[in-house]
Amino acid sequence: MSAKSTLRAVSCSVLFAVFAAGLFAGYLTHYSYALQFREVPNAAPSALHPLGTDSLGRDLFARLLYGTRISLLLAPAAALLATLIAGVFGGLAGLAGGWCEKVVLAAADLSMALPLLFVLLALRALMPLDVSPVISVVATFLMLGALGWPSSLRVAWAAARELRNSDFLLLARAGGSAPGRILMKHVLPHLRPVLFAQFWISIPLFILTEATLSMLGLGVMEPLPSWGNLLKGLENFSAVRANPWMLAPLVLLVVVVISFQLALPAEGELA
């Protein structure tokens, strides 16, 4: 087993463990993410509170587990949405060519020219600041999915365009295959590795963007935890110096993002 494969296996195991911890948060902690222990705010780690409590007396371990669930379930969902948009429109543009290709690429160029964070802020500003936490979660990740497709679309388009001129598609067309059959039997299997790579790359990107949005107070709303709004606690430097375990969400986020980067299989292995 090469060093790269070992590293990939370790990264996958880390991701699996973190994902499972988030999914089964209810079994790993007895506390709700919103339950307050008002008598022990900013408490140090103990048997009762493995990562201590925050300034409102909420158990940080419980909040981290439930925040992991939200970030690790919704970031892939947003990445799936972005990849679907990219796959459908990029594939269509690459295969059809002509005006369809021009329109789709112009839309992608326009979207890529718009700075993502500015547009996210503008869209978030359309909603009131006091939206319910659940709506804020859905809206944040929906916006990420709906805006994060342009670079993936360019990749899907380039892959589909190569297929358009390929011999096997020419033979399929000459053999009388219907467009639907060509798409399902010949095109999609070839685009799958490219789309999977784009999906995988988008997940850490969306996790990081959500974290920044939430730290700016424009992402997931309290009391729902996400990695982003857990990191808001880092703004209080004196509290972090006194309670270094407040860095746990940051450490987990960095480990997960690096694991996502290391776990992506090489190009040849995706096919």
């Binding site: 020219a113 700075p115 964070l117 503008a122 880092l234 986020l253």
Partner: protein, 286 residues
């Protein structure tokens, strides 16, 4: 010569198209945003229906999207970008006041990131460059895994200027991309052949390798300016630096849509301009 002029013309046309389309998108968002045109004065029971109607007309509530957009374009052509609803000040004035600070941070940040990225990428390819490569890869791998807002907090904690934080966000992308490009370029058969013929390192780099990596590097330069403007929002918001990034954040918190849309358009124009300049630069290169 004429091919170059037509290429510049095409890029300018694309810039105009993208700006108009971006403006239309922005106008759509502002015009159809919930609560658009609502004015607290309308709640005043002392006002007559005629006065209320005049207030509504002032907000162009009866106009359609295209006439609203047309009016905005006509005003923008005369330098009037409208008023900020939250600050009750002309948006153009706010831009003139705050833009230079952001531009300075962005340009210095991009320059610093590129200087560090180019030096480290070149050093990592040297004979004893494995430790530079390892250090650069680990640093960039760590920095790329941090949310931009956390980099901003670290800069605030270390009392580093905003441009250093922007450079820390741009550097990992520049280093990784450049390093991979250079590795690929040095593996090309004609570069290997030139090296075998005993051409010096500097000449090899300038005459053969740069010619190959020039176009993608120029494209990344354009993209890094766009990334730097995006990074300026959390940097300026968290480091309390009064530039347009902080203004965009405050505008979002205060639901000042006309202000944030104008800011987005200005940054979009700059981004498209930077990308077009980068594209022309590498297409003009020999």
């Amino acid at each position: 010569m004429s091919a170059g002029i037509s290429r510049i013309g095409r890029r300018l046309l694309l810039m105009v198209f993208l700006s108009l389309a971006g403006g239309l998108l922005g106008a759509t968002l502002v015009r159809y945003a919930p609560g658009y045109g609502m004015d607290e004065r309308e709640l005043d029971p002392r006002l007559s229906e005629t006065t209320r109607e005049a207030i509504r007309s002032g907000h162009q509530l009866h106009s359609g999207l295209l006439s609203y957009y047309g009016a905005w374009l006509a005003r923008a052509a005369h330098g009037d970008l409208g008023r900020s609803e939250w600050l009750d000040r002309p948006i153009a004035g706010l831009l003139v006041e705050r833009f230079p600070l952001t531009l300075r941070s962005v340009l210095l940040g991009v320059l610093t990131a590129w200087a560090a990225g180019v030096v480290l990428a070149l050093a990592s390819l040297g004979a004893r460059g494995w430790w530079v490569d390892l250090a650069g890869t680990l640093t960039s791998g760590f920095l790329i895994a941090l949310p931009v807002a956390v980099v901003a907090l670290a800069a605030m904690y270390l009392r580093a200027p905003v441009f250093v934080a922007i450079a820390a966000v741009i550097f990992p992308k520049v280093f990784r991309y450049l390093r991979n490009l250079l590795v690929h370029a040095y593996e090309q058969p004609y570069v290997l052949a030139a090296r075998a013929r005993g051409i010096g390192h500097a000449r090899l780099l300038l005459r053969h390798v740069l010619r190959l990596v020039g176009p993608p590097v120029a494209a990344l330069l354009g993209v890094s300016i766009s990334m730097a403007f995006g990074a300026a929002i959390p940097m300026e918001a968290l480091c309390d630096s009064p530039g347009i990034g902080q203004l965009a954040w405050l505008a979002a918190l205060n639901r000042d849509l006309p202000l944030i849309m104008n800011l987005t358009l200005v940054v979009t124009l700059l981004t498209v301009g930077a990308n077009s300049a980068a594209e022309l630069l590498h297409s003009e290169a020999p």
